[in-house]
């Protein structure tokens, strides 16, 4: 018997599976938060969620719709401010323990992200919200995971603006730029999960869902994507789906 699920649900669950019990998870809102909350309610009960606004380990009885939502404040171990939150990510002891969950409008083959502008950034055709804390997180934490709609126009050869550093130009270029640690480990998309080659730091298809062939995924990517190592991502288990639907987002605020 096949269980029905949406690509958004699959993304949240693919993210959840990649969160470890000792992770400190930097969250934005939306899908990444669903992933973290699902992990916490399944295999990683000790992972700690925090927000750039300064809230660490809040109760999250309801899903916050912004990182400044009062729902991130209630029941936390500490409610501070931005200075605390970003220092925590840059700190040499706590920073490496942080997994940052990010998203962007454009991504390149080295996992660099654009969330600033489409077109010429001095007079863009589309202005996007800007870095917010994304560049900081991408620069400072132990590892990052990126959420993307998998579309050819979003997976590009050249970003219109490099807002958040991934592996920069690949290889050892990230260290050479004096970035102290970190880099993207996975890109969770509507079609599958990409990872990065250990030495070239180029993106490759690691797992794909059952909604599209690997060849089609490659065709939906604006740069050459190595699909030779791809395995199939297991479908959501009934438990994963149940937790996500009934405990994490019972009102369907994000999933619907």
């Amino acid at each position: 018997m096949k269980i029905e699920y949406s690509p958004l649900e699959m993304m949240a669950i693919a993210c959840s599976r990649r969160i470890q019990d000792d992770d400190i998870v930097f969250c934005g809102t939306g899908l990444p938060l669903l992933g973290a909350m699902t992990a916490k309610k399944t295999h990683a009960p000790n992972c700690v969620v925090f927000f750039e606004t300064g809230a660490l380990d809040p109760a999250l009885f309801e899903i916050p719709l912004s990182v400044a939502d009062s729902r991130v404040m209630h029941g936390a171990s500490h409610d501070g401010g931005l200075a605390d939150a970003f220092a925590f990510m840059q700190n040499r002891f706590s920073g490496p323990k942080v997994l940052g969950l990010l998203s962007g409008a454009q991504i390149d083959m080295y996992g660099n992200l654009n969330s600033t502008a489409i077109g010429d950034s001095s007079k863009p055709t589309t202005r996007l919200p800007g870095s917010g804390g994304a560049c900081d997180v991408a620069s400072l934490v132990g590892r990052t995971m990126v959420f993307m709609k998998h579309e050819r126009r979003r997976f590009v050869e050249h970003l219109d603006y490099l807002t958040s550093p991934g592996w920069l130009q690949g290889g050892t270029s990230r260290q050479e730029a004096s970035l102290i640690r970190g880099g993207p480990v996975a890109v969770v998309t509507t079609l599958g999960v990409m990872e990065f080659d250990g030495s070239t730091k180029r993106m490759y298809l690691s797992t794909h869902y059952d909604n599209m062939s690997v060849e089609e995924i490659a065709r939906n990517t604006g740069f050459k994507l190595d699909v030779s190592r791809a395995k199939q991502e297991s479908s959501p288990t009934p438990e994963e789906l149940d937790v996500l639907r009934t405990e994490v987002d019972p009102l369907g605020l994000i999933l619907n």
């Binding site: 809102t29 939306g30 750039e52 606004t53 300064g54 809230a55 009885f61 309801e62 719709l65 912004s66 990182v67 400044a68 939502d69 009062s70 729902r71 991130v72 404040m73 209630h74 409610d79 501070g80 401010g81 931005l82 200075a83 970003f86 840059q90 660099n112 600033t116 502008a117 950034s121 001095s122 007079k123 863009p124 055709t125 589309t126 202005r127 996007l128 919200p129 800007g130 870095s131 917010g132 804390g133 994304a134 560049c135 900081d136 620069s139 400072l140 603006y161 490099l162 807002t163 958040s164 550093p165 920069l168 270029s173 990230r174 730029a177 004096s178 970035l179 102290i180 009102l251 605020l253």
Partner: protein, 321 residues
């Protein structure tokens, strides 16, 4: 002992906010925007503002939409699920009517911290290798003719304490003319207590020449001084205290009320059209005398629906279940 700093929003804005000022707005996206003060700035026709803030939404979008902002230094202009990019902000940049320079949230926090600490810069590793460093929004000419703009957007330098080549980004200080903060509690002597997240409000206040605080509750100085370690800003740094319940509406104020989703959704729809935006601005801001009249327009029923649960600090979504 010291004299009262309590005044109306209209008086505070008249005394401390001028056209051409460099302004910093407290709060963060949908929380604790100092809306009553912003509405008053709009009503008093203050213009040509230079705004420096980290993550703006409603307060910023109205100022931009009303054409009051000439220069903007910012990290983020969006409103969570309500606007993936703030609407008037996006339009103004796309149409080239607003000059903007991009930083990150941490960098803007550091700029306020540096201003508060009285140092010319603070260091970070954030943004090495990115266009945040490479692309500047303001020309050298603009920079040299405006003392409120740093001579350089950012400076990359060698770490003198490292034995290997290691670079670090220096972020320049900013000292705004005025910071606008909305707090849960304040006293007439200027002592301020924020509850819940402080965002970068404390750094913004400490960096600025003048600080106007609006508050939900006006408390006696003696009451706040009973737990002096829980106060957020000492009285000597504050110029004006404005007692304005619901002063952050339609954004949230933790422990008091939630964001007004219905109002923000209405704004989202209207703001997308130039004429409708003007109508909104007239109806909810310009044609209104004061914030209490604005609240009457919003209506008791709506305000009741966003009242925070005392246990949670926000309004339960299933509260009518």
């Amino acid at each position: 002992m010291s004299s009262s700093k309590l005044m109306l929003a209209s008086e505070a804005v008249k005394r401390f906010v001028n056209s051409g000022d460099c302004l910093s707005i407290g709060g963060f996206t949908i929380n604790r925007n100092p809306m009553a003060l912003i509405y008053e700035i709009l009503r008093q026709q203050v213009k040509d503002l230079h705004v420096v803030m980290h993550s703006g939404s409603q307060a910023l979008d109205l100022l931009i939409g009303a054409g009051r902002v000439s220069l903007l230094e910012i990290a983020y202009g969006a409103n969570g699920r309500l606007a993936s990019t703030c609407i008037r902000f996006r339009k103004a940049i796309e149409q080239g009517t607003l000059k903007v320079e991009d930083y990150t949230n941490y960098q803007l926090t550091l700029r306020f911290m540096a201003g508060a600490m009285g140092v010319p810069f603070l260091p970070t590793y954030s943004s090495l290798g990115t266009d945040i460093i490479e692309r500047w929004g303001f020309s050298p000419d603009m920079r040299s003719s405006n003392p409120q703009l740093p001579g350089k957007k950012l400076a990359v330098t060698e770490d003198p304490f490292s034995d290997k080549a290691s670079q670090v980004v220096l972020v320049p200080a900013v000292n705004p003319d005025v910071a606008l903060i909305h707090a849960q509690k304040a006293a007439e002597d200027g002592t301020v207590r924020l509850e819940g997240l402080t965002f970068a409000d404390i750094e913004q206040a400490r960096a600025s020449k003048h600080v106007i605080v609006s508050c939900e509750e006006l408390v006696s100085p003696a009451e706040l001084r009973k737990e002096s370690w829980n106060n957020s800003i000492p009285h000597v740094l504050i110029d004006a205290v404005v007692h304005q319940p619901l002063g952050a509406h339609p954004t949230a104020c933790y422990l008091h009320y939630d964001y007004d989703m219905a109002h923000l959704l209405k704004y989202k729809e209207l703001a997308d059209d130039d004429d409708q935006f003007e109508t909104y601005l007239k109806e909810f801001v310009l044609d209104i005398d004061c914030h209490d009249d604005y609240l009457k327009l919003i209506g008791t029923k709506q305000l009741k629906s966003i009242k925070a649960s005392p246990e949670l600090g926000y309004a339960r979504r299933d509260s009518n279940l």
